[in-house]
Symmetry: C2
Subunit: 194 residues, 2 copies
C-alpha cells in the first residue's frame, strides 16, 4: 500500500508541474491533488526537487523512444513518427500546457542544479537517438551528409522545443506544423548554396 | 522622484524575473532588490502581472530590432546581425539565465492571460520583422523562395528560442552556434529534394 501513496504523489506532481510549473506548485498542492496527508510526502521525498527528478524520468520514458529501435522503418520516417507521437501527446495534454521538460528547463535556475543536470542528461540521450537515426539516413542517402549528424540532431531537437514554446503561447498546433513543413524537407536537400 | 522609484522597481523586477523566474520572484524580493518600501510597489502596480508586462515591453524594445530597418545591409546579413546581437546579450547575462521572454513563455499558464497575450504580441511583431527581411532576400534571390516567408520566419524564431532553452541547460554558447551553422546555409539553398 505504501507504494500506492508514493505513486499518487508522483502522478499528482507530474500533472501539477506540467499545468502550473515547478515553482508555482507547492508540496501542499501536490498532496491535496494526490489526496494523501502532507506528512506522507516527506516519507518518500526529502525535497520537491527530488520528486521532480522522478517525474522527469517517467516523462522521458513515455516519450516514444522505442521507435528509434525499429530499423525496419526508413530513418526519416522514424524521425517523423517520433515527432508525430509527441505532437499527439501535446494535443492530448492541451497545447497551452507545453512540454514538461521544456517548461522545467526554462524555469530551472542555477539554484536547482539537480534538475538542470537531469534535463541535460535527458537532452543528451534524446539527441543521441536522433543523431543515430540521422546517421542511418546519411548511410542510405535519404538524409543530407553536408551537416554533421550530431549538430543536425541538436538543431532539430532545439527547433522542436522552440516550436513548443510558441505552441504554448498561441495555444495551437501551427508551430508544430511549421516544424514538419520546414524541417523535414531540409533533412533531404543537397546543401549547395545558390 | 516618484518616477525614479517606479524605474527602480521595473529594473529590479527585470533582473529578478530573468534570474529566478516570474513565479519564484515575489513582490517582497522585488522591493528588497529595488531598495524601496513595499508599500510603494502598490502605488505603481496593482499586480505583479502588470509589472511583468512593462518588463516584457522594455526587454522587447532593447532587442536590436533597429537592424531590420537598415536596408543598406543585405537581408541575410541583417538576420545574422540580429541574432548575433541577441547572442552577445545572452553572453552578457550569462548563458544559464536564458531568454526572459522564452522563460516567461514556458512559465506562463492559462491563469495569466495578460502575460500570454503580451508574449504573443511580441512574437508576432518579431516574426513580422524577420518575415519581411526574408521577403527582401527572396526578392534579391539570396533566400530560397521554396518556403513561405512567414512560415520560414516562424520556424527560424522557434529554432532560436529552442536553442536558447538548451543554452540555458548546458550553460554554453554551443546551441547558438548550432543555429548559425545549420540554419543560415538552409536559408540560401535550393530546396530540390534528393
Amino acid at each position: 500500500m505504501v507504494s500506492k501513496v508514493r505513486q499518487k504523489i508522483v502522478d499528482a506532481a507530474a500533472t501539477c508541474f506540467h499545468e502550473v510549473g515547478f515553482n508555482a506548485c507547492g508540496v501542499q498542492e501536490i498532496v491535496d491533488r494526490a489526496g494523501v496527508p502532507k506528512g506522507s510526502f516527506y516519507n518518500y521525498f526529502k525535497a520537491k526537487e527530488l520528486l521532480a527528478l522522478e517525474v522527469l524520468q517517467n516523462y522521458t520514458q513515455s516519450s516514444g523512444w522505442e521507435i528509434f529501435e525499429d530499423k525496419s522503418m526508413p530513418p526519416v520516417e522514424r524521425l517523423r513518427v517520433h515527432f508525430q507521437t509527441m505532437a499527439d501527446r501535446y494535443a492530448a495534454f492541451g497545447y497551452s500546457k507545453g512540454c514538461l521538460i521544456g517548461n522545467l528547463a526554462a524555469e530551472s535556475t542555477d539554484g536547482a542544479p539537480l534538475i538542470r543536470k537531469a534535463i541535460a542528461a535527458s537532452l543528451t540521450s534524446w539527441t543521441k537517438h536522433v543523431a543515430d537515426t540521422i546517421r542511418d539516413g546519411q548511410l542510405d542517402d535519404s538524409v543530407t551528409a553536408d551537416i554533421d549528424a550530431d549538430q543536425l540532431a541538436r538543431f532539430l531537437i532545439n527547433s522542436w522545443e522552440g516550436a513548443i514554446v510558441r505552441m504554448k503561447i498561441v495555444d495551437s498546433r501551427e508551430p508544430l506544423d511549421d516544424f514538419f513543413v520546414v524541417a523535414f524537407p531540409l533533412l533531404s536537400v543537397r546543401h549547395q548554396e545558390a
